[in-house]
Symmetry: C2
Subunit: 326 residues, 2 copies
């Protein structure tokens, strides 16, 4: 097997991406990876020079900072708007000579927010503009781990059609519910003129970072799994129940469009204290927002049984009373 993975598996994925995007993907645009985290590391190793910057909209998945630092890069956080949508103007202002890439994640961990086509179009325009005159274009990296978990029958976000130097990183851990199996891929936009060179670089970094190749048996599984994926409706029911209850109790919540996270404001400024109180006195496990670069919020993961969510509601109500929301 090449370090990039079984050609049959890569062809299967290319066919899926052709259908999703209308773009001429082939196996030569796909590198199988050890999950999305493996894919991101392989990609960042391939594209970053020492000291170069990667812009990440915040709140953000905190491991990104390690992945970027692993390969000599520097993370630059740019706050999203209050509704966690992309602040494209702020991103544009943050781009400088040392910027190499923008790393987005939609549906987003921790907010569950799905970026709109309009946001991506604006971002694409900015990246085109800022890439002009550069030896190498800025990269748009899309961590598409939650791509298949979007609600209301909305099709998965297609990140490729707004900018050529776009690379998507995907994991099957959520779409097939196989966490821990470490199978995913990196997909390079076929329209990107540097696709061949990047493909060679990714194949090489897959090998030398010690991934060597994505797990062989799981690679065989992917075409067999075909278009199967977990039932999104189950997640959506959980989101609806939780969102409606929390807003009723007075919490300020941006309604998630996908994934299985919610990122409400905490009723007090100190999110660490609030999360500790939720755990100790109301037996609800959440994570402080400051771990994701945004204090004054807390992350709820609702990738749990419906009964667990149902049982938590009374606790959320009591906490809301205690802090004067309800």
């Amino acid at each position: 097997m090449p370090n990039s993975g079984y050609p049959e598996t890569r062809s299967f994925i290319a066919e899926q991406l052709r259908q999703e995007t209308g773009l001429p993907f082939t196996e030569d645009h796909i590198v199988m990876s050890v999950g999305a985290a493996g894919g991101l590391n392989v990609l960042l190793k391939a594209i970053l020079n020492e000291g170069e910057k990667v812009i990440v909209p915040s709140p953000y998945f905190v491991e990104f900072q390690f992945y970027i630092a692993n390969h000599g890069g520097r993370i630059v956080l740019v706050d999203t708007r209050d509704d966690f949508s992309l602040d494209v103007e702020a991103i544009a202002r943050a781009i400088d000579e040392e910027t190499r890439a923008i790393l987005i994640n939609s549906p987003n961990n921790p907010t569950g927010v799905v970026y709109s086509e309009e946001e991506l179009r604006e971002l694409g325009e900015v990246l085109k503009e800022k890439s002009r005159g550069r030896e190498k274009p800025l990269y748009l990296i899309s961590d598409d781990t939650y791509k298949t978990l979007v609600y209301n029958g909305r099709p998965p976000l297609n990140v490729f059609n707004f900018y050529e130097a776009t690379v998507s990183v995907f994991s099957y851990s959520k779409s097939l519910n196989i966490p821990g199996e470490r199978i995913g891929y990196v997909a390079i936009n076929p329209l990107f003129s540097g696709a061949g060179e990047l493909m060679d670089a990714l194949t090489f970094t897959t090998r030398i970072l010690g991934f060597v190749n994505a797990p062989a048996l799981m690679q065989r599984l992917i075409p067999l799994a075909g278009y199967d994926q977990v039932e999104i409706k189950n997640y959506q029911r959980k989101r609806d129940l939780l969102y409606e209850a929390l807003t009723e109790f007075g919490y300020e919540v941006v309604k998630p469009g996908g994934a299985f996270y919610m990122f409400p404001k905490t009723p007090i400024e100190d999110d660490v204290a609030f999360v500790a109180d939720l755990q100790r006195n109301f037996h609800i496990l959440t994570v402080p927002g400051r771990g994701f670069g945004r204090g004054g919020h807390f992350r709820i993961s609702y990738c749990v049984e419906m009964e667990v969510i149902e049982r938590s509601l009374e606790g959320f109500r009591e906490a809301a009373k205690k802090y004067g929301l309800y």
Copy 2:
């Protein structure tokens, strides 16, 4: 699952290592890894500071140089003796203030040589001596990928009993013949006083380098496979056939004690030209020695069907005649 892997799997491996070594291994000395290459990267990320040196006996597995460079280290090659045994005096001379570790590989790729207890004892003495007065000891890293492939019923080399700050990296790819499945482990000597701290560091680097955890299903497989392993006798028969034929034809070969590689001298100085000639005119695929840091040699991998080896012998004989060996 913790990033270090399933406790049951790690306990099973600890029990095996207790039996092999008599040392008090527990699950707290084992981190499951994405193969040996993943394990080495995780380990090197955990222990190396920018610019520190890792000594590697040469000829050597050339990927080591990338793994070391990935984490800011510098590789320092020290030639082995003519019989590819460790030149412990030369290693001692190469150790300086900036040295952080020695990385050995036995049975060795490309030579098939197995280091003796005597060599390891001498090396352990040198490392003890050279670690004196340092804030942190030098590490002995043993890439034990081929550990189970040793001939003549010899037990696998036990690297732990000669030096405390010893870490073994293992892969099941050869012992269970499952190349590509990316399952292995890192084992820390229980006698090493820094074992707990190193364990924490390895768990963390497993996560942040993007491995996250070793593939889950394969972790489940390891205790089920128990003490199974590929039949060594098959490799030994191939070694015997090839070794006897090559020496009869006049090639100078150090007899391999394990693995499935042989590293004869080329009849002409230019190993690249010889290997090209072997391929073009005698239809035998080998690799030039200079790719492993030792020109004037070529590597034969005999992890192939017996018929392939049998069919190659006439070609080796004809090549020997052409170059005046036979």
